[in-house]
Every structure is written in C-alpha cells, then in structure tokens.
Amino acid sequence: MRIPCPHCGQRDVGEFRYGGDASKARPAHGTGDMKAWHDYYFLFDNPKGPHDEYWQHVLGCRQWFKLTRNTATNEIGEQP
C-alpha cells in the first residue's frame, strides 16, 4: 500500500505509523465525563468501507494527517 503524505508525496506504507479512527471526536481537554472518554477511547465503528483515519509519516517528515481509506479494498481517497 502507498500512503499519500501531504508533504512528502506517495510513500510506502512501511514509512508510516497508523493512528486509528479520525472520525471519533476526542473530548476537548478537561471536558467530557468517564462515559464520553470510554466511548471515545474504547469503542469503534469499524466500518467495512470508507474510514477516516490518522497516519503519521514517522520515518519521514513526522507529520500526522488524515485520510480516507476504504477498509474493504484499502483504496485511499481524498483527504477529509
């Protein structure tokens, strides 16, 4: 798989670190009750289809970014 780093361009998946579901909204710092944090941290929509997610170009520019990938095909679409 090739991941489009918005800064460095298309690179091999081996240069990246996966950061999980980006559609989950992290409660703002210092807000949110235990339930909100539980749902944010432990529950997953885990769709079979388009999935917004974070990646870090960890062996490259070290920037985190979002992209949409289809988990049924691994095809990567536009950045959300």
Partner: protein
C-alpha cells in the same frame, strides 16, 4: 580539551574504484520552525515545499516540514544569533551523521534499501527525501548526478554505514 568525535570514528573504511562511501564532517545543522516570511530576510529565499533544498551563501536550506526548515551551514555558523525571536530554533548539529555516497552505482545501492524512485529523472540534484533506511529514519539529499548525502541519526549512524557498505560490497575493490 574537548574534541568532537564522529560516530563513525571506528568504522571500517570502504574502498572501491567506482563508488565512494564515507563521512562528510564539518557542518552545522540548525532546525528552525516558524513562519517562512519571518525567517527568509535572514536566510534568503526558502524552498517552497518539503523535499526541496536551496543553496545560498554557503548554506543549504531544506524545507523539512510544512513550517520547518533545516539550515545546513559551515561547522561554525553564527546564523542562530541573527534569526528573529519568533522562530523556534533547535540546534541539531550533533544529532545527525552525514554519510556521502558517490559514484555510478550510488543510486542502485540506495535503491536496495530505500523505497523511493532513484531514477535520474525522478530523484534530481537539489531535492531530498526523508525516508527510512534499514528501519531507521534518514534524510537523503541528492547533491549531484550520482552523489548523495545521507543524514542519519547519530546513534544509528554505524548501523546505517555498515548497511550501506554491505550493500555496496559487490562494488568494493
């Protein structure tokens, strides 16, 4: 007296009639984060996107992030003192070991470990890439038709150097 000691001080030299691999000492590396327009009056014109390097007045400026630059200067450089307060400055001269690989097979040797297109038409002089070599992060800077400077993390430098010279064993004398 304190003296500078290279990470590769005790590395085995590589010799070949077609390929040179060795360390290029004597540089300073300053990382600057901040607005390009605030920095450029001091540094000169900055590269417009990540992966491009410009050389002026004995310094090479690389854009290493959307808002981050590397200034590669002479071993002793006073530019740090001239940069504006607003810039976030991190000296990194000791963090990287610069390894030079030069010669006709250089591109092939690098392509053994780096998942990038090293074709002449794709990786041109004046461009660089931040990527991985043997599971470690490296910055590979093309500085001539068949000459590359590799900025390896200092603590991985011996591993990177040994990996390179092993990859180049078939060209060794």
């Amino acid at each position: 007296m304190l003296d500078r000691r290279s990470a590769l001080a005790s590395a085995k030299p590589y010799t070949s009639s077609v390929l040179q691999i060795g360390e290029a000492h004597g540089f300073s590396l300053l990382q600057v984060a901040g607005l390009a327009k605030a920095i450029s009056p001091i540094t000169g014109k900055l590269p417009v996107k990540v992966g491009l390097a410009v050389t002026s007045e004995g310094r090479t400026l690389m854009r290493t992030g959307p808002n981050q630059f590397w200034i590669i200067g002479p071993e002793v450089d006073d530019i740090e003192t001239k940069l504006p307060e607003i810039a976030i400055i991190t000296p990194l001269s000791h963090s990287r070991t610069r390894i030079v690989i030069e010669g006709e097979p250089a591109r092939n040797v690098l392509a053994k470990g780096v998942p990038l297109d090293f074709h002449h038409s794709a990786f041109k002089s004046g461009t660089f890439a931040m990527t991985g070599l043997h599971h470690t992060p490296v910055l590979v800077h093309c500085v001539g038709e068949n000459r590359f400077e590799i900025y390896a993390l200092r603590t991985f430098a011996v591993s990177v150097y040994e990996w390179l010279t092993d990859a180049a064993l078939e060209f060794a004398r």
